[in-house]
Amino acid sequence: MQISINWLKDYINLDGISVEQISATLTDIGLEVEAVQKSAAFGDTVVVGRIIDAVKHPNADTLRVCKVDVGKPEPLQIVCGAPNARIGIDACVALVGTSLPGDFKIKEAKIRGEESFGMMCSAKELGLSEGHDGIIELQTNYKPGTPVIKVLGLDDVTLTLNVTPNRADCLGHVGVARDLCARLGKPLKMPTAVVKSPNGSSKDIKVDINTDRCGRFTALAIKNIRPVKSPAWLKQRVEAVGMRSINLIVDVTNYVMLELNHPIHAYDERDVKGRHFIVREAKEGEVFTTLDNAERKLKSGDILICDAQRPIGLAGIMGGLNSEIKEDTTGLILEVAWFDPHSVRATSRRLGIHSEASHRFERGVDMKNADMVARRFAEVLQNCVTELNAAGGSLPTPEIAGDLVDNFPVKPQPRLIALRVSHAKNFLASPHLTSDQIKKMFESLQIKLVDQAQDRMVFDIPSWRIDIERECDLIEEIGRLQGYDKVPYELPKMSLEPTAEDSLVDFIESARTEMAARGLRETISFPFWSDDDAKRLRLPDGHPLVPSLKLANPIAEDQRWMHTTLACALIKAVQNNNRHGVKGARLFEMGRGYFDFNAKPLNRTAFSLFKSLDRKGRHLSLRAREEKNRPTERHWIAGIIDQPWVHKSWNTPEVPASFFQVKSLVLSWLKGFGVTDVQINRIEKDAVPFLHPGASAYVFAKGQVIGWLGELHPEVTLAYDLEPTKAPLLFELDLESVLDASSKRAKIQTESYKFPPSTRDLALLVDTDLSHDAMASAIAKFPQKRYLHEWRIFDVFQGANIPKGKKSVAWSFSFRSLEKTLTDQDVEGEFKNLTGYLTTTFKAEQR
């Protein structure tokens, strides 16, 4: 909302109060000033100067040496190059010391040997327009020396107010002035609305309201009117607050709206057939052409203003093309009405029309002032015509109907709201407040005290303050008028009893720090997918990770779906980094995957490993977990490791990132939370389709899948412009499942070994598809195990000297006792048995 300070001064005396003070006061009472804009880009050192002499420059053909009267005893000598600089005209003179737009400073100068004390400016030089047709020639005869900003009406300052949606009353200058008066303790000068020459009548106009969505409809007939140019002051005011000046009729309409915050619509009286207004709801599918020449398809519930034959206006939003003010309009009928805010808003939102009128109607205009607004229009119009005629115009006297037609079916009840003074004092921690002070505050806002008994004060809320509905709203008025700075600082005195916190909250933060400590950088991305991302990730129809939640109004077409996994965002991040020449990024992200398992329940049979995916998360209150139709949000932590793991350097060749580095990273991170009983199992074909089928795995803990890891599928690398031979590695873990696993920790081994171990190594030839875990768990089950304590694989070899289909695996076994140092005999005996056990179990050959 733009407010002109000059305009504001019509309603409040602001003498001696600076723009800065006005602006600070408005911000202080809740009408935040977002910007302060002076009308002119120059100050009062650009003055009217009359050229009293102009001769050709002795040394330059195109220059003139002028003598200019700027209201001082001596005229100034100014050298000017403009062809129109001639005796008798009034020019805009920038005196020495003036700063003009573009940081151009006027100094005393010698131009081709002739002294020059100032500059006569063109419109462009003053920042007024782009054209450069010589210097400005001022029309009117102002006294030389008068600041040009005054002459051109540019001595105004415009404030941009952030008017919050509750303060509909402050979408007009009077409303803002009223609040300012209340704070500054000044009287409000209301605009007058007396029509001096009542002649003619509106009696022949008929208004029928056939919907309860129109609360009032006032019509006023005005004849003998011409859509001429507005007087300068009106044009300036309308333009100062950012509107275009069109013609006298439209400008007065806007002027009164910007003054009293009540939209007005003027119809050409010839277009109101039968001089009959019918306000009704539109029929479903009815088509209407608004004055911006757009065909609007309406729905039932939209409000239409019709004449005897057809619709002529879309109520509260925009007039019709068929009844607008035209060049030859000579008579008009004014509409000042009240329409239901919700209907206006619903219609304007649906049709995408946001007009000055709809903006006000949907916030709520004053139902009671419609008649006054119509008369105010008439008065301003009449005054303008008088003024134009006094300045030499020859307009006919407008014939303004002395009466108006006012259909006001249901007068609103007075709104009486009670205030408990003690409550207000306590709530605002302002014990000094008295009921007298409170009464004065409300009176200054024109809110009447209608009853007072002991602690209780009852106020009659004026019709323009639709935001005041309850006692707390009255308390806010007291708070903002006395100033929030008057309230002391206190801390609440409360019971120490804490509200229980879900352990997930803290876990998420530790998870983040632990992951970063393992060398990954945290990134955050937007959780949106395009239509193609699921395909690029090779997710087949019916896969649980296929996105199921679609945005109705995405910000861009390629951000339509809520993602289910963070994988895609991380792949895109690596893609972007590669584009910028950054290789070897190690990134992780924590965020949610979003699923709608209400519409499409999780297919547990086909995707048994995803069976925990449809649990409602711990971020929800217990109550919300029970709600029907709530989507599922899973908390993921996911990471991507781009190639290479280590760049070539002075002490190392390039090390490629491998599945096992990522596995180590994941296991180490899990171990940080005490999750040590973890299995990494080969993924069955295409269960996580964006991973390489031969280099990917599930992470199992406590019998359930808690995540997956592996190399990116080569087709997916291609889909995201990555090099398949340098595929990055990914992992993704369900944080809640990890937390669950970590809270069920295994018993900690408490004995400490005090005697040294003995070790024996064994190399075996086994089938290539025998996995490490299969061997390790067989070793764990070695029936004659007595001293065998630890075992680890230290070599896996295929190739020369190894038969096809076989591999050589070498194990190191450590034997240890809690009671004694083992003898060679102790160890040899058990190792022999173990060797026999393993060779039989795996049909292995000892190497």
């Binding site: 009472i29 709530f427 206190e490 720090t513 992951m515 400590a517 060398g519 945290e522 937007f526 350097s649």
Partner: protein, 351 residues
């Protein structure tokens, strides 16, 4: 040659070999010296074996002499061994000094935490110290929690304050536009007294230089009997000082959020110019941080709290902008571009 003569030769040879080993000054030389004389095929061992061939009568004298030599050599070698330890240390110490400025590979690199996360962790720390409990909640929610229970009915112009993403579901769900939905979730699930903060992601259908469709907020609220506007002021002032520094001024100015009344925006004095006015604060001397107010009785009534018994305040603000301010970041969108090098500038811990 008699054994005694042989012994004398061995003794002389040892002196020579010993001198060589000392000159070499290596532990290995001492060990080979030991083997050469005391080892299984060593010269002293050979002398000892020769003793068997000496006649009975000569044996005591010869044995004495050989033993003496053996002891002398053993002693000498022991001495050399301990000397060898110090030769070893000297060798270690005399290694070529390292070029300690050589770069280290990224094998052991440290990762980093996103600036927004760092900021959130710091905020959580501050609020926990004030006795607040951290609560999480859904990012996709029903209209009720995000709007209507917060006193923002359908078709209320206040909905224009936030451009909402709607989800294509039968029951009109949305991406929450504010963390305030947690007020409703918590109050429906718990009884006062409450001191809650709820950090989280929020979404608005808006994208330009200064807006991203997703950003981070933190919501806080306190509900109990006799909570006043002064408590709101005191709490806001306390946490702002804890975050921005205790020397900066704070202020509340009237504003409007449908779920609070009275409502306010809270500002902190500009840290760059200390309130004098500069480019950072657009010459106002203040940095806008967030919104707050006394919880509207309509909100209490929507969750079934007795609004005549309980009062409370709520506040909320964006984390991203504070993080940008804290780390002096020029471009909001940079936060969400996943630029590996940019992200590498941040530490692991906030303080």
């Amino acid at each position: 040659m008699s054994l005694l003569e042989k012994s004398e030769i061995v003794k002389k040879e040892f002196e020579g070999d010993r001198a060589k080993a000392v000159a070499e000054a290596k532990p290995e030389a001492v060990e080979s010296l030991r083997l050469a004389y005391l080892g299984r095929k060593g010269k002293v061992t050979a002398l000892m074996e020769d003793l068997r061939n000496v006649s009975k009568e000569d044996r005591p004298a010869a044995g004495k002499a050989v033993n003496a030599i053996r002891q002398a050599i053993e002693g000498s070698i022991d001495e050399l061994k301990s000397q060898a330890r110090s030769w070893e240390l000297t060798a270690i110490l005399n290694r070529e000094p390292l070029d300690v400025t050589l770069p280290v590979g990224e094998g052991q690199q440290m990762g980093s935490i996103h600036p927004v996360s760092l900021m959130r962790q710091q905020l959580i720390k501050v609020f926990r110290s004030l006795g607040f409990t951290v609560v999480d909640g859904p990012e996709i929610d029903f209209d009720f929690f995000n709007f209507s229970a917060l006193n923002i009915p359908d078709h209320h112009p206040a909905r224009d304050m936030q451009d909402t993403f709607y989800v294509d579901t039968p029951e009109k769900m949305l991406l929450r536009t504010q963390t305030s939905n947690i007020q409703i979730h918590t109050m429906l699930n718990e009884r006062p007294p409450l001191r809650i903060i709820a950090p989280g992601r929020v979404f608005r259908c808006d994208s330009d230089m200064t807006h991203t469709p997703m950003f981070h907020q933190i919501e806080g609220f306190v509900v109990d009997e006799n909570i006043t506007f002064a408590h709101l002021k005191g709490t806001v002032d306390t946490f702002l000082k804890a975050i921005f520094g205790s020397t900066l001024k704070t202020r509340l100015r009237p504003s409007f959020f449908p779920f609070v009344e009275p409502g306010a925006e809270f500002d902190v004095e500009c840290g760059v110019c200390k309130g004098k006015g500069c480019r950072t604060c657009k010459d106002t001397g203040w940095i806008e941080i967030g919104g707050c107010g006394m919880i509207h009785p309509n909100v209490f009534e929507a969750v079934g709290y007795d609004s005549s018994r309980y009062s409370g305040f709520a506040f909320g603000f964006g984390i991203d902008r504070i993080a940008m301010n804290r780390f002096a970041l020029p471009d909001l969108r940079q936060l969400f571009e996943g630029d590996y090098e940019f992200l590498g500038h941040f530490p692991l811990h906030s303080n």
